[in-house]
């Protein structure tokens, strides 16, 4: 019998995009056009995502420290749930 020429249905790559890279940096804004003296720490994240055709897109976003702490808490919860599965 001949093997099927279609690749096996990969549940994650048909429906969602794949995370290819996750880069982050911690910065501090010290001055801006609206406020000359700042002390504003933030986390900047740069995600590289590949869609099912292989095309890679970059998405950048920034978070304040409280936003980042919330972000981190989500991943802690995900890790905890995975433990129980």
């Amino acid at each position: 019998m001949e093997a099927s020429s279609e690749p096996p249905l990969d549940a994650k790559s048909e429906v969602t995009n794949q995370l290819v890279d996750f880069q982050w940096k911690l910065g501090m804004a010290v001055s801006s056009d609206t406020c000359r003296s700042l002390k504003y720490p933030y986390v900047a994240v740069m995600l590289k995502v590949a869609d099912h055709s292989g095309q890679v897109k970059t998405k950048c976003f920034e978070m304040t420290i409280p936003q980042f702490q919330n972000f981190y808490r989500q991943f802690k919860e995900i890790a905890a749930v995975i433990e129980t599965v």
Partner: protein, 203 residues
């Protein structure tokens, strides 16, 4: 300024005196509608059947009329010049009057449509900036790396666009130097002469 009509153009327009002025007026309406929305070849076939001629003849007639109107509108020729330009076609007084009326009635709108054909680049709207210091990254801790983050607000055809860019202070200084140099160019004799000429001709 007179319009110079090519032989081919004159041939296409020669169809117009062969039909009623009501038909010519209808062709004029179709021509302007095609300028607004794009052409629709089916209209040529319907008209060709009713007038008992080939659809090519109708198409050429409408296209000839469209070109006459767009060229006249583009150059903004005077009533007199339009009449003189059309006179060489040897049409009846009634047809000449009809064509002139078509030109005068539609000139403004045609010019507005033609002005939209010029390419429009995005233009500056606003610039926000922020001076950052990078303290750490995934690959390197304990850093002190200054950077400038810029949010450029642009306008294009009425849409608002923003671009976020980032650079280091040295590159930003270089950018500022280049822009200042460009402004300095305005003070050279060559530029001054050009600007003076534009000011005097723009009455």
């Amino acid at each position: 300024m007179l319009l110079e009509l090519s032989e081919e153009h004159k041939e296409h327009l020669a169809f117009l005196p062969q039909v009623d002025s009501a038909v010519v007026a209808e062709f004029g309406r179709i021509a302007v509608e095609f300028l607004r929305r794009g052409t629709n070849p089916k209209i040529y076939e319907g008209a060709a059947r009713k007038l008992n001629v080939s659809s090519d003849t109708v198409q050429h007639g409408v296209e000839g009329l469209t070109y006459l109107l767009t060229e006249s509108s583009k150059l903004m020729i005077s009533e007199l010049d339009f009449q003189d330009s059309v006179f060489v076609l040897g049409f009846s007084e009634e047809l000449n009057k009809l064509l002139l009326q078509l030109y005068l009635d539609n000139r403004k709108e045609i010019r507005t449509i033609l002005s939209e054909l010029a390419p429009s680049l995005p233009s500056y709207h606003n610039l926000e900036w922020r001076l950052d210091v990078q303290l750490a990254s995934r690959s390197l801790r304990q850093q002190i790396k200054p950077a400038v983050t810029i949010k450029l607000h642009l306008n294009q055809n009425g849409d608002h666009n923003t671009r976020v860019l980032q650079t280091d202070p040295a590159t930003l200084l270089h950018l500022v130097q280049q822009l200042e140099q460009a402004l300095e160019e305005m003070k050279t004799n060559h530029c001054r002469r050009v600007v003076r000429n534009i000011k005097t001709t723009k009455k």
